[in-house]
Symmetry: C2
Subunit: 243 residues, 2 copies
């Protein structure tokens, strides 16, 4: 399993992905699930992946190769004029990879399946986030649904729904993502630290504000332990139910 969130704020985008990959509890490893492409001053693209590792690695390799080799550079993630066109490209590539492994085709419950969060900004457009399904189709973020999750989405959703605020600054947004990730990590062994974090500020066209957050990270530890206490205090404040 996996857990990734892409969130849109007024001031930009925030992405977080865990790094645990597993084929059973006795076979797990650390594997990056967040990938970035950049043309300085012109575009900044981030992709996060969930699902079959062979599928997602092939997808990223194909996108990479097509972005570096001159002959194959068209279609390229570095050339497409809009985020919408990049989503079409990534969706088509994803479908192609799954179709190559799976006799039954690219459906969500296929074992070779994968889901993608794509986010970023291209000059002339606004920052946006899209979620791409294994079938290659996709949806775009709206003000009503200001974040996308892929992987193990349920444990960490209630706090996102309650505490999200589009005017948040990045420091609070990262805190929110860490609380959501912490609830998930504590409930599902197949989601694990370290977490990859990226913050994208609108019109910066740069992908360099990133960090890998380890279990030893002091602020993360403070948030993880503090959240249990904070929840219990919040709980105390509510009225009891006399039967």
């Amino acid at each position: 399993m996996t857990y990734c969130i892409g969130m849109r704020l007024d001031r930009g985008l925030v992405f977080m992905a865990d790094t645990r990959t597993s084929a059973g509890v006795d076979n797990f490893a650390v594997s990056k699930k967040m990938f970035t492409w950049e043309v300085p001053g012109e575009r900044a693209i981030t992709i996060m992946t969930a699902g079959n590792l062979a599928t997602t690695q092939s997808l990223i390799s194909l996108l990479e190769e097509r972005s570096v080799s001159e002959q194959e550079r068209d279609p390229s993630i570095l050339r497409e004029p809009t985020m919408f066109q990049i989503a079409r490209l990534v969706g088509a590539t994803l479908r192609e990879v799954i179709a190559g492994s799976s006799p039954t085709g690219q459906t969500s419950d296929d074992q070779f399946s994968a889901s993608i969060i794509l986010g970023g900004q291209i000059k002339g457009g606004k920052p946006t986030i899209l979620m791409i399904y294994p079938e290659g189709n996709f949806i775009e973020i709206t003000d009503d649904t200001p974040f996308f999750q892929i992987g193990e989405t349920k444990y960490g959703k209630p706090i996102l729904v309650r505490a999200y605020d589009r005017q948040m600054d990045f420091a609070d947004a990262i805190k929110l993502l860490l609380v959501s990730f912490d609830s998930t990590v504590k409930s599902n062994l197949s989601v694990g630290l370290p977490f990859d974090l990226q913050v994208y500020e609108t019109d910066s066209f740069a992908t360099d504000r990133t960090k890998r957050i380890n279990a030893e990270d002091e602020v993360y530890q403070e948030i993880a332990t503090g959240w249990g206490d904070a929840l219990r205090s919040a709980f105390e404040l509510l009225p009891s139910y006399e039967l």
Copy 2:
């Protein structure tokens, strides 16, 4: 979907079940999922069900019939000497019902599948809770795992894990269950009000402390709206993460 929790405290047991049954979002209804049997002063038994409604209704009808008709009264949920034996009886009956509908047998992913929480006390024994799988086997609650959930278990789990305390009084335990149910209801349309609540006090051998909690219930409303505010205040208290 469904959501039920059975929880053990030092002073007894608490059960809560939602009542929404659905075969798609355009076909839903209210249906009881909590059932009790009692021999005053001798035993109190509670069963909650999740899964295929035809399966769970057949199961309850068979258990009911075998507990009322003189000829078929053996084996009976009102006669078995221990909770363990009742769990075996319920498990066998469940397997029998599923096998009658399903050509492929009683596995968890079968469409006729169901899961059961069984709780209560028989004189001479302690109050306990067991979870019965579609295959008919079961597990018993322990101090390390002091509650069982069936149905849509993920959204409501983080708060249970953080705020449970075996020395809680019933009023606080009900509050905890309501918070857990509220998070689930807000995230999954197939879990819905009203909720059925039952509190069992150790050595009371009575099943009469029950209540159906509606959406209009004042304390529930206070908890549901108050929890959002409480969560946000708790969240404010944590340190922000500066990147």
